[in-house]
Amino acid sequence: MTDQVLKQITFTINGVKRSLAIDIRKSLAEVLRQDLGLTGLKQGCGVGECGACSIMVDDVLVDSCIFLAVWADNAAIRTVEGEARDGKLSKVQQAYVDEGAVQCGYCTPGFIMATTAFVEQCEGKTVSDDEIRKAHAGNLCRCTGYQHIFNAVEKSMTPDDPMPGQDDHPNQES
């Protein structure tokens, strides 16, 4: 590798500032997976059709396989690895678990990011079924048949219980 193909870039990855020399020929998916070991995102089709590589760049959902790594300079990147906090899954992740929206898991990190972007954009708004489907049209799943994923998205959007725990399983507690 010559100096010509290396470029120093700085960005925030899941809240942590990083500076590294990247190969200008690499996609952001390749830098995240190969250089930073963030293998949650998957490269499926490599041409922006399957969404398995979906991540957020400055809170915008993108296919990282067709996004040049150099474009990440000065950006804030979010991948599925950054969604759980202190060992606790994000609300979206938990909804995917609860609804059985995960089977082989290959598409899941991309779907989680698509749902997270959608939920954040739609905060406080009422959304239609069509809007949920359209917002996830860029992600393919070959296992679940989508209905479980759809249910998980809906669950992700329900407001939190204001007094969590109080009414949970009242019969079991007595």
Binding site: D23, R25, S27, S54, L68, W71, A117, G138
Partner: protein
Amino acid sequence: MFNIETHIKAGSVQEAISLLMENPNARLIAGGTDVLIKLREGKPAFRHLVDIHGLAELNGIEKLPDNTLVIGSGTTFTQAIESDIIQTHIPILTDAAGSVGGPQIRNVATIGGNICNGVTSADSASPLFSLNALLSLQGPDGTRHLPIADFYKGPGRVDLGPGEILTAIRIRPEDYEQAFGYYYKYAMRNAMDIATIGCAVCLKTSGGTLTDYRLAFGVAGPVPIRCREAEKAVKGHPLTPALLEKIAATVVRDVNPRTSWRASKEFRLNIITELSKRATKKALTRAGEELS
């Protein structure tokens, strides 16, 4: 890894023009959703890149004091969809932008790239044909404004001279005020698909007649086209059901679809006649008109 040999980031349009003049083999990259696919396929034409991704100068939608709408070429489809100006004045472009790819693609792909890529199936092209859009092309010798219909030279070939960059798309007030449009995309899937046929209609009505009618198609020929025969045939036509039949009967003279693995010529012709009617009806509904 993409087969990129040189990659130079341009900090301004002026710099991008100079870089293109210095590197005649270089091509522009903006959203990258077409260029990076071509590089992935190993196409050598894109090995040298001048990068205008995210250039603020090219981004944005505004309405000038004379009511001309100006859409920066670097505007993404998502920005176009969310734009109040576009929704209010030219919702046909909201229809078209919403039909492109999926959310991830719309978040990155630019309207200028869609046009400069030169393909007949570009969803933003036929609506812009129907709006008589003018393209602002900035080059080493200044800026010229070219009607979009004159921009397409052939499949994948557009009228961009050395060092020239599409900076903006302009829609003049006389072309959109009191005009109503609709873009109808026919594809095998409702998302993540290339148009089998794209149909754009822009019309004006007055006193029960059609006073202005502009019909454009994508994938009905090697490049997006306007249907001048059909337009001429129905200008001034009363708003009766016979109007739709007349459009459908004449539009076949304007188009030249081909057989490909996506669809046969015969099937495309059938869709063209059907969509010309449906899109016109939808545009009439937007105009608050009903055929009687």
